[in-house]
Amino acid sequence: MSRLVVEEAGPATSVQDCGRIGVLRFGLSSAGAMDRQALAVANVLVGQPADAAAIEIGPFGARFSAADGAIRLALSGAARDAAIDGQPVAAARSFVLPAGAKLALRPARNGTFTYMAIEGGIAGHKVFGSLSVHARAGIGSPIARPLAAGDELPVTAATPRAETRLPLPAPDDGPIRIVLGPQDDHFDPAEIARFLDAEWRIAPASDRMGYRLAGPKITCARGYNIVSDGIANGHIQIPGSGEPLVLLADRGTTGGYPKIGAIITADLGRFAQTPVGKPLRFAAVDVGTAQTLARAWQAGLDSLPARLETLSGLSPSSEALLAQNLAGGAVSALDTDTWSHS
């Protein structure tokens, strides 16, 4: 066994998998990775199932070290500079963190969440089928809160095997697609058009519960109070302030404000990765189109293991050299804006 030691972590770093099932009816949202595609890529690189638990690292810097033995890791998601004891580490490929070495991650450059997957996975006690941390509910495993300096995770020692990499498909920079409803009929059609025409920015007061959108105020013709109903991951709520709030993984499960629409499955990760302040737009698609895209998105995740490329016969001692060689290509490979949604 090895130990992965957290030397430093921003406030939004936590263990996440694909979230829990069956607890929405008790007021507990699913939690889970904000960007499931990035989680899957990181996991597949270290030979884990796509939906396994990994460390979701928020936009701030973080540092980790390996104790007792070497640990094989992979990074995916938001681009950031990474280095092991000063030697740059490439993204979208597996690498070994030698015992005693420190991995330093700089703040995210173009994105919000980076996923660090661990060969052998994260051991913990699943609650409702998931290790995912839900900070507000105080649930998750092996540590039921976001990670902090001094935390240690017992992990498997790196096995002798070749490193892998995953060439990622072409970029998609298009609008974030939504399906209107269920309260779209509470809004004047002109107001829905205004929402879809507007340029939005994610406001700083945003977290795993939800992202606030800065832009024009949206008015709701039938008033801002409805009798509470259920809220989906990605639902866009219009409260009395007229400032849209997109409800995400750690959201409240029910709410009493009208919901104009919800982000489609294929675009949820891309939306969650949009940095604060970067302009974004929405486009409406019908539910059938959204579901065709969802199936293609899932097929893309399912095909990840088959697309894995093996880097022949490299020992951990070759790592530093290889990392230097690949570092130039790391930026775009880590950049979630370069990911296809389908």
Binding site: L24, G27, V179, S228, G288
Partner: protein, 242 residues
């Protein structure tokens, strides 16, 4: 009696939908929601992952790879055709409450507003049989229907930034059992040591939507012992015959 065929099925993105029976707080609507929820639990249509019964709509989360919106909507119409309205799950919980004082800082004001003594206000709050219409907002937060209309009280003008875990509150015609500390504009009449949600306990959640709730006033001196029992993982609330 059958379920009404007068409901709408509306998309909530591409992986959830809402079966909407109406847009009001109404026990009859909630009974429709619970009836459909029970029918789905008994024979889940393909692709359904989980459901969330709310006041007036059933939220259905599903896998868009396993089914499609139109296909699932048709299956749910068939579920509804075979369902009956359900007033109650048949389970009833008796929840101990310390009323007034620091546990219920709004009790006196609510009593004054309705020209009642605090004792009579407690009596009316504790005499009702409530039903859990919905669990939502925060983990374990139970929204209750059945409040005696004579003590219904509009929400506070100034919501509190924090109301404590276990707060027993009323807001308008609604009542609740709060589980985690949270902001609220409702009036705090008392507090219970009972925790509907306790991550380290088995079961993690005690009460479900459709369960009935009655309140048992207890003396303030009993609080410490009950709270200790709750922390040990004892339910504190008692299952009683409905």
């Amino acid at each position: 009696m059958r379920l009404t065929p007068n409901f709408r099925i509306l998309p909530c993105g591409d992986a959830a939908l809402s079966v909407e029976f109406g847009d009001e707080v109404d026990p009859a609507l909630n009974a429709q929601v619970l009836g459909l929820d029970a029918a789905i639990a008994a024979r889940p249509p393909a692709g359904v992952i989980e459901t969330v019964p709310t006041y007036r709509a059933l939220f259905v989360r599903y896998d868009p790879v396993a089914t499609g919106f139109a296909e699932l909507a048709q299956a749910l119409r068939e579920s509804a055709a075979a369902a009956k309205p359900m007033e109650s799950s048949g389970r009833r919980w008796r929840i101990p409450v310390v009323y007034g004082g620091e546990m219920g800082p709004d009790l006196d004001a609510v009593a004054r507003r309705h020209a009642l003594t605090t004792e009579e206000t407690i009596r009316r709050h504790a005499a009702a049989i409530y039903r859990i219409y919905m669990i939502g907002f925060t983990p374990g937060f139970a929204y209750l229907g059945g409040l005696d209309p004579s003590i219904a009280t509009p929400r506070r003008d100034m919501p509190r930034a924090v109301t404590p875990a276990g707060a027993i509150m009323i807001g308008g015609v609604q009542a609740c059992v709060q589980c985690l500390a949270a902001p609220s504009g409702w009036h705090i009449l008392g507090r219970t040591p009972m925790r509907n949600f306790l991550p380290a306990r088995d079961p993690v959640f005690l009460m479900g939507t459709g369960d009935e709730v009655v309140f048992q006033p207890v003396a303030a001196r009993e609080w410490a012992a009950l709270e200790k029992a709750a922390e040990r993982g004892e339910p504190v609330a008692e299952r009683v015959a409905a």
